[in-house]
């Protein structure tokens, strides 16, 4: 699930060139849309995920059209855009607070009827698990198909590589940006829904996760797909397994757990800003690139 969210960040950073902190709220918007949808149409997870994805995409598109596009036009600095993304996040987050408050939807789990599909020793596979994992995988595969084999995906990759060049060779930058934002929102929204099915929904859920998600994206080098997915798994792994190991071996308290992804961010940015990407080249070529 980190993978889905981190892919969104990677897409935004590479195509739009904006470190978007409001990404957290697109996730939450998706989760809430899913929650409300699940009350209307219980027992239809696919529909719920589609609704969540649409809500996320809409949120991202509206934020782009009303805020980011205008700021990009007046050639604002990265910091301005970063601040604006914080502001968008604030507005969305606390609007959701008001919504949650007035409809009593705090810390609720998306209602999907629970069935145990397989029980073998301590391993229990429920229908929730059966939904969440394949959906994530399918989304990732669809995304990679889209990027590698469609015209819009080609344009996105061109913009990620070199924005000016993309403009010169006739990529309709504004249109591609709209599409990218919708795609990013779709990813965020549906991952929010999956997360809500898996644990619970609250207005702060996205905000709490966003830095871990950034950690995953940064670890992945923020340029490649495989890198990002691998980064996401590594972050999730270190949050759980490494923390358990530290606790067991060195007596590090579990209250330090949220610090793990942050430490990853700092270490990577300071010592290996290209993330894991360089590592693949290393494996391929047998030499380290400078």
């Amino acid at each position: 699930m980190y993978a889905l969210m981190a892919l969104g960040i990677t897409l935004t950073v590479s195509v739009i060139k904006l470190p978007n902190f409001a990404h957290a709220e697109y996730i939450t918007v998706g989760a809430y849309a899913a929650l409300i949808a699940s009350q209307q149409f219980p027992g239809n997870p696919l529909l719920i995920i589609v609704i969540a994805g649409t809500a996320g995409a809409l949120a991202a598109l509206i934020a782009h059209l009303t805020v980011f596009r205008a700021l990009e036009k007046q050639r604002s600095s990265t910091y301005t855009l970063l601040l604006a993304s914080f502001a968008v996040g604030l507005i969305l987050r606390y609007s959701l607070f008001i919504l949650a408050d007035s409809t009593n939807l705090f810390d609720r789990r998306i209602q999907v009827s629970l069935q145990v599909l397989l029980r073998e020793g301590s391993l229990i596979i429920t229908n929730i698990f059966a939904w969440v994992v394949p959906t994530s995988l399918i989304l990732v595969m669809l995304l990679s198909l889209l990027l590698n084999h469609t015209p819009i995906g080609r344009d996105m990759r061109a913009m990620a590589n070199n924005l000016d060049l993309a403009r010169i060779i006739g990529v309709r930058v504004e249109r591609v940006k709209n599409w990218t934002w919708m795609l990013v929102g779709l990813l965020a929204g549906s991952s929010g829904a999956l997360w809500g099915i898996y644990s619970s929904v609250s207005p702060l859920m996205g905000w709490f996760a966003i830095l871990s998600v950034f950690a995953a994206a940064i670890l992945g080098g923020m340029s490649s797909f495989t890198g990002t997915i691998l980064g996401a798994y590594l972050v999730a792994f270190s949050e759980n397994t490494v923390m358990q190991f530290l606790n067991f071996q060195l007596g590090v308290d579990f209250s330090f757990k949220p610090a793990v992804p942050f430490i990853i961010i700092i270490l990577i940015l300071l010592f290996r800003p290209q993330g894991l990407t360089g590592l693949f080249d290393f494996l391929r070529r047998g030499e380290l690139r400078r």
């Binding site: 970063l82 604030l90 507005i91 008001i98 961010i265 940015l269 300071l270």
Partner: protein, 356 residues
Amino acid sequence: MNIDAGATLTALLTLFGIYGLIALSLNLEYGVAGIPNFGKALFVSIGAYTTGVTYTRLLPLLAGQEAVSPCGMTLSTALQLRTAIMRDLPGIGFVNFAVTIAIAMGVGAVVGCLMSYAALRLRQEWFLALVLLVGSEIVRIFVRGYEPIICASNGVSGIAQPFFFIRDARLNSIMFMLLILIMLLVVYVYVERLVRSPYGRLLRAVRENAEVAQAMGKNVAQIRAGVMAIGSAIAAAAGVLFALNVGFVSTNDYDVALTLDIWVMVVLGGLGNPRGALLGALLITLLDRFTGIAAIQLNRTGIALEFNYFRYILLGVILLLMLRFRPRGLLPERRHATLAYQALESQAAESTGDRG
């Protein structure tokens, strides 16, 4: 309607003073020197944690008594001990206050310096913002989990203001307010002078184009470290006052929300203009108090709506509107800030006088 106008005003000015100090420091760092300090909460928290440590360790020692562990079993003994000292021995209270400020500023300056050197290794400009943001969260999580500093997540209470010995609650809060406003004035004059001096010109040049500034013989890394040290020391001093004002040191007060508040103040008031920082701090503090009072009034009328949410939404809207329509703030940077112009103008006046 039984809001005590005097007390409200005192509380408002006290908060304004504290936020004003932090806003001045961020204005110097980002507005003038262009360093995006998204870790403001970290430097404020350094001051607060220092206060937690000195009040529980140093204060009893200064009073010639044994320090008692402030956490766990001996919590209430320790609390009584420091409250008694602050009440009965004002001199020691003041010494402790001064030492706390000095230590906080020192630690703040050192951490600020270190952070700026870390920034040298970063490849993209927004990485620094992220590193500072994340660094501030790491420290917060660490302090929350590590008992010896401020009793982990329990925090330390009973952090009395230096005027605690004055029995009249109203008078001592007014004294505290005055102390803060005097500090604000001193720092404002200091920052204003920096901005108008050749040093201010140097910082602006680094902001505009660091590479060219370096080619003009300026040691950019050192300059950034210097301004981060100054800004962080100011923020840490404000953190001490923050803790004293709340009377309690807890990690929950120093998260990203605080950093964002300060950013809104600086962007609203005006980048690169110390007066703008003060104006922004004043407006946001007013907004803060106003929404607070409005929330209480609303709850009285029976509407169960959390007004705090609107406060944050409003902050977001203000920030967006400013970035979009007035990116330089209400009071933009002044152009003729330096002495050089006066020199030229007076000379021009003289030469025309000679001719005429």
